[in-house]
């Protein structure tokens, strides 16, 4: 059986590119604070969502809508409306993180399939089973901190489908709880849908030396021959005590393409590609590559040689926590 690939779309053009390139499923969000990629110029209004869903369905693909930020007290109606509108647009599932919103969706939209966002940071079988029994969650997106044997152990103890990231930006924080972006900018992916918002990012080129600032803090500076620094605190370069370097996380991107057969054996249902903030060119190339990979896996052929290195953030890739050689 071919593993499902779940592909990002920040715009209607990217959705079409993903579907044409072979996406089984596309995930996207509304153009507001209800989704964790609330970036300028990105996302879908209601008409675009309806048209995008129709396009995907006409081509045999599914659409998931991420409503995965945490509602502000007193403003829950914005999130409730997003769930209702997603259902009206005909989406195949919503991806939620907040327990209040999950309870609301389960009660008022019982026919709408619910997935648990990585923003909920559910990282063991007990948590998966809790979300399934209490809110009818059918699938959980696992955090990017688990090894393949740990994922296999989780799948052995739950009937809930699991979805894991295989490519793109690598977040190793307790997702949904990380406060680094809030500390520097007052805005977070959890509440505002923006990690290291572009409005607070500045790059300065000083005769080839490029520095990145977030909220006024210089978080990294590189020489002329190095890749541009990533503008998040977690991938910044710091000095602490006698040590200097990427203290939280190296500025590398996830590429678990070669681990697809192992992830299949571990009982994973779907493979997720990160990158709703990337272009339709990125989406088309990555999706094409991963569709070929899952087809090869299902047919028992070797994994095709990938051509994705140039698309990785920071221009370098890792298998992340899936292989515990990573620090």
């Amino acid at each position: 059986m071919v593993m499902e690939i779940v592909c990002p779309a920040g715009t209607p053009a990217s959705l079409r590119a993903a579907v044409k390139a072979g996406a089984h499923t596309v995930y996207c969000g509304f153009a507001d604070e209800t989704n964790a990629r609330n970036f300028p110029g990105l996302n879908f209004d209601r008409d675009e969502m309806r048209e995008g869903v129709k396009f995907a369905h006409d081509h045999g693909a599914q659409v998931l809508v991420a409503i995965n930020t945490y509602p502000r007290a007193g403003a829950e109606a914005i999130w409730h409306r997003a769930v209702a509108d997603a259902e009206k647009c005909g989406v195949d599932a919503v991806i939620l993180a907040d327990v209040g919103l999950l309870a609301y969706a389960a009660k008022h939209h019982p026919g709408l399939r619910r997935h648990l966002s990585v923003q909920a940071a559910a990282a063991n079988a007990d948590m998966l089973n809790f979300y399934a029994s209490e809110f009818g969650v059918k699938r959980v997106v696992l955090p990017r901190v688990l090894s393949v044997p740990e994922i296999a152990a989780i799948n052995a103890e739950t009937a809930v489908e699991t979805e894991v990231f295989v490519f793109g930006g690598l977040c190793v924080m307790a997702e949904g709880r990380c406060s680094l972006s809030s500390y520097a900018t007052g805005l977070s992916p959890n509440m505002n849908g923006v990690c290291s918002p572009a409005s607070h990012v500045e790059y300065h080129d000083d005769h080839g030396a490029l520095s990145a600032k977030l909220g006024g803090f210089t978080i990294h500076k590189v020489g002329a021959d190095e890749p541009a620094p990533y503008p998040t605190l977690c991938k910044g370069c710091f000095s602490a005590g006698d040590a200097s370097g990427h203290l939280f996380e190296d500025p590398v991107s996830l590429n678990a393409e070669k681990l697809i057969p192992q992830l299949a054996k571990a009982g994973v249902t779907a493979l997720k590609i990160e990158g709703r903030q990337r272009s339709r060119s990125y989406v088309a190339q990555v999706v094409r590559n991963f569709r070929a990979a899952v087809e090869a896996q299902a047919a028992g052929r070797p994994m095709p040689e990938g051509m994705l290195a140039q698309l990785t953030e920071g221009q370098a890739a890792t298998a992340g926590a899936y292989k515990k050689i990573w620090r």
Binding site: A21, A224, A228, R280
Partner: protein, 180 residues
Amino acid sequence: MQDHAVQLPVFPRLPAFALRGLPLTPISLALGAFARRMATRHPSMFKRLGDYSNTRFVLDPTDLPVTLLLEPRAGHPRLRLSRKPMQGDARIAGPLSGLLGMVHGAYDGDALFFSRDLVIEGDTAAVLALRNAIDDAELDLAAEAGAMSGPFAPQVKRLIGLAETKTGVALSRHEEDPLW
């Protein structure tokens, strides 16, 4: 750190040098008309700019002796060309092939930025909004120029095709057939 950078074609020196002698006013006027046509045909592109629809963008093709100032002006765009450095709220600089390759979906903007092929300065959020708005519009500048040329459309298309071949710059939309 491995080097995975895309190798971008550089605009040939001779035609780039020839630009130094050309009068810029008629070219600016033609570009302005072109931008206004884009606004009529792709209103959603300007809508996507949102809070940045009045931002002044300096577009700097580093292998040409000119820079462009793009002012979207909420759907009533102005585009000016200059041989002198121009001031704006945000600046995007890189080889012409990179800038047009992004417009046509041949290259990913983030990849070009991380590989240092592209430089951005000033209002980062505005740059992001512009990049996303243009990416969603699925522009084909060659097709637009052809459509503007009336009875000369076939000749213009041939000329653009020739320029694309000779310079390696993506002047038309990059699209591949559905695979599955």
